[in-house]
Subunit: 147 residues, 2 copies
Amino acid sequence: MTEAMLVVSALDAAGYRLTGPRRALATVMAEMDGPFTAARVAGEAHDRGIRVGRATVFRTIDALERAGAIERIDLPSGEHAYVACAPAHHHHVVCSACGHTAEVADGALVALVTEIGRRTGFRIDEHRLELFGRCPSCVRAAGEGRG
Amino acid sequence: MTEAMLVVSALDAAGYRLTGPRRALATVMAEMDGPFTAARVAGEAHDRGIRVGRATVFRTIDALERAGAIERIDLPSGEHAYVACAPAHHHHVVCSACGHTAEVADGALVALVTEIGRRTGFRIDEHRLELFGRCPSCVRAAGEGRG
DNA sequence: CATCAAGTGAGACTGTGTATCATCTTGCCA
DNA sequence: TGGCAAGATGATACACAGTCTCACTTGATG
Ligand SMILES: [Mn+2]
Ligand SMILES: [Mn+2]
Ligand SMILES: [Zn+2]
Ligand SMILES: [Zn+2]
């Protein structure tokens, strides 16, 4: 609930109009558990009786991404997923079993990126670190299975 | 030339058959300058008079990726591109102006990933670092423009 | 060579994302 | 409070990425 409002206010702050479809979709996305694809948002919206065009789903994802309220994750499968998250720069660990994510602060990575820039001679202005594995609870569940 | 042979032998080592289409496409990919999309491989092959089905391009990219001879890069635009590269684990810096890439050894990143695993409780088994910016020669070119 | 599992190409098909355009809404202001 | 222009919407058509099927071909192996 308050999560959806954060998403909506990010839209507002970025100068986008606060429309019905955007509010509804922001709520759907904020309540999603783990990364979601455009198709899943459209499906979930449909299931809740929210009647919104497919193009609007893509446009809203686009607007939210530009507003910094959601972020794209390129899954190893090639799919594009998104997660609602803080507007500050950070990265994500994604559980490949249940989809839960955790945010990871940039921390030591900035120094590493600087060093890579120095060594390669590239002027690096964008980087992306994505981590995949099992979240604590899925690790625990798997352990029990064989324990 | 020898680059293409490396790609072909990686295929061989992974137990794939060495067919005409695969050799031809491996050559095309090895000679590509910077990351290439499936569509660009198909286009380039066509331009060289190599008659090969579109499905085969996708299947060959797939086989080469599994063989470790090429690697996918998720461009910020959302496109999927590939680069021919060494089979050892590493990452890429991509020039967003000219497309040139440089390989970056994992180095200090492994420790960082371990630390992230410890802090988040995730058992991380895959990570991906992608860096985008300007290569040395594009930086130089831009500098001259205003010098 | 003969054999046959693996690979190929044509083409249909699914899915993602974009373009168009007539219609509707929002934010703003008189 | 109503009027309006810019911006947003949705229906639909479209462009493109990637997969699937299936009849046919080819490479590796002996
Ligand atoms: Mn995030
Ligand atoms: Mn590589
Ligand atoms: Zn999990
Ligand atoms: Zn460059």
